[in-house]
């Protein structure tokens, strides 16, 4: 500072100091402030874990591991076992995943490999809109359009063709596991296909071109070149979709029938972890009841946390593969 000519210093605004001459307090404060809000995000995640653990303490102490293996859900006698809800959540989500993954992969391949340029943006936008429709509107549509259609068309058709399997036996009710899974599948398709697209776009173009130059068709290129390169990312995309399906609440609550039973038939009503929280939380009388519901929420939190961590790691792997992937 001292080396600066006096006149020049005077003509500058006060906050303007010679570059690197001393600690700029403005910068230090700015950095600390933004860091504070960055840490806020971490604190919310950590606080959520702690708070939910605290809320479910009573139930953890009372039932221990038995909570997830017992199917007694009897609020009047303070008996709580989450097995029917875990069953409903896991089965409906896996079923939804098995419907949504092939469709999503098809969409992603269509948009990255096949689609003419002018059609790409409109189609991608429409698929994104599918994710923008609120969950409760899916539920409304599910009650009045999807469930009756499932009851009158899809379920009788399945029963008459595949009815020898226990999965497709029993009365067609419309409100049940299968309808829940279908609505979940519709809702997670945009998530999975968006991540699949991202992953397929990360595959180096030279690999693709090399394969075409060797005379491979599009299908052969996809099967032998693109899929092996992108596999971990595509698995990650599916896991991300699974996480979404597990935690989805409103739409599935409105169509799955909400009966805590474990049935071999996909037509039968079921109940999911998120649904039981949504339905019973505000009506829960007694601390143990509330704590049991909180524990279900805590389980959901932990499982989706782990799934998200795995999925992110897998997707990042494809995007981060070295440029050495190019020839």
């Amino acid at each position: 500072m001292a080396s600066q000519p006096q006149s020049l210093v005077r003509s500058r605004p006060k906050w303007l100091k010679p570059f690197g001459s001393e600690v700029n307090w403005g910068d230090a404060i700015f950095r600390a402030l933004t860091l504070l809000f960055g840490l806020c995000v971490v604190a919310i995640l950590g606080g959520m874990a702690l708070q939910m653990l605290k809320a479910s303490r009573l139930s953890l102490q009372a039932f221990g591991l038995g909570f997830i293996t017992s199917n007694a859900w009897n609020p009047i006698q303070d008996q709580f076992g989450a097995l029917p809800f875990i069953f409903g959540t896991v089965v409906s989500s896996l079923l939804a995943l098995s419907l949504a993954v092939p469709i999503s992969l098809g969409i992603a391949v269509f948009l990255t490999e096949l689609c003419p340029a002018w059609l790409k943006n409109p189609v991608a936008f429409l698929i994104e809109l599918l994710a923008a429709v609120p969950s409760v509107v899916y539920g409304l549509w599910g009650i009045f359009a999807l469930a009756p259609w499932m009851r009158e068309v899809v379920e009788p058709a399945l029963a008459s063709t595949l009815g020898f399997l226990p999965l497709f036996q029993g009365p067609s009710q419309g409100f049940g596991m299968l309808t829940g899974a279908v609505i979940l599948a519709i809702m997670i398709t945009p998530t999975i296909s968006a991540v699949c697209r991202e992953v397929l776009n990360a595959v180096p173009g030279a690999l693709r071109e090399g394969s075409y130059a060797l005379g491979a068709t599009r299908w052969e290129t996809l099967r032998t070149v693109i899929l092996p390169f992108a596999r971990s990312g595509l698995v990650g995309a599916s896991i991300l979709g699974l996480g979404r399906a597990l935690g989805e609440t409103m739409a599935i609550t409105m169509v799955i029938g909400n009966r805590p039973e474990i049935s071999s038939s996909l037509f039968a009503p079921s109940y999911t972890m998120a649904s039981v929280i949504a339905n019973e939380f505000t009506e829960a009388t007694g601390d143990l009841y509330l704590s049991a519901l909180s524990e279900i929420g805590f389980l959901l939190f932990v499982v989706t946390l782990i799934l998200n961590i795995i999925a992110r790691a897998l997707v990042w792997r494809v995007a981060r593969l070295p440029e050495g992937g190019r020839l």
């Binding site: 500058r12 906050w15 303007l16 100091k17 700029n24 403005g26 700015f30 950095r31 402030l33 933004t34 809000f37 960055g38 840490l39 806020c40 995000v41 971490v42 919310i44 995640l45 606080g47 708070q51 809320a55 469709i103 098809g106 969409i107 269509f110 096949l114 698929i127 809109l129 599918l130 429709v133 609120p134 969950s135 409760v136 509107v137 899916y138 409304l140 009650i143 009045f144 359009a145 398709t189 068709t217 599009r218 299908w219 052969e220 996809l222 979404r244 597990l246 935690g247 989805e248 609440t249 409103m250 409105m254 939380f281 505000t282 909180s294 929420g297 939190f301 989706t304 946390l305 998200n308």
Partner: protein, 283 residues
Amino acid sequence: MSLSGERHALRKFTDRAFSASCVLATIIALVPLFGILYYVAARGIQGINLDFFTQLPKPVGETGGGMANAIVGTLKLVGLASVMGIPPGVLAGVYLAEFGQTRTGSVVRFSADVLSGIPSITVGIFVYSLVVLASKTFSAFAGALALAVIMLPTVTRTTEELLRLVPESLREAALGLGVPKWRATLRVMLRTAAPGIAVGIMLAVARVAGETAPLLFTAFSNRFWSDSWNEPTASLPVQIYTYAVSPFEDWHRQAWAAALVLVSLVLILNIAARVLVRNRVKK
């Protein structure tokens, strides 16, 4: 020769079948979208009238009435959630873009990604045990806080990504003029990225406007006007849920009308965001 010809035909057929199935998958995925939009438009129109926007809900069993309180409630909840969620989200995003190449930065980024995948209903339980239990009442404030927590990670990551798109030369030019880094970030980088960030924020707002699960036991619902932030508050999504699962014909009609209002809001925000992005790209 004929063998290779057959093989060629088979390969060609497989390829065609594969392409066709991809197209089919896309069409199958779009059917529900148009199905929902059609249902919401066709049934919603029948339920919309002036009362819907100006009247309070009628008691069970009486027909008529509207959802004026729920419409205002949703606006209040989303507005307060934006106030609580957007500024911290933007600042956290600035941190990630400007100083985030450290281990702390990775932890923050990772937390934001994970937080955005956490089921919204667990956010509801979190805010319930944090705010509702402490204040002993369901409240608009609690509902807005839950929505803000849901918005936060999206806003953070969008801000970071868009700040990274701003050419580094702009910052260098500002620093070269002797501007301190914080001013260069706020006045040059953030201002350049602002339109893009605004679009990202619009999408985040559209998403929380339709959130139902976290409101069930934070904002709860209310048949009347709620005068303060510290009372249970009605909202469109919760009202749709309550009415849809009820056995009353007239409530179903109103649920569809509410769905039409909500979907229109979400669609307008999404399409506007799309148009803004495209205009910017064209420039």
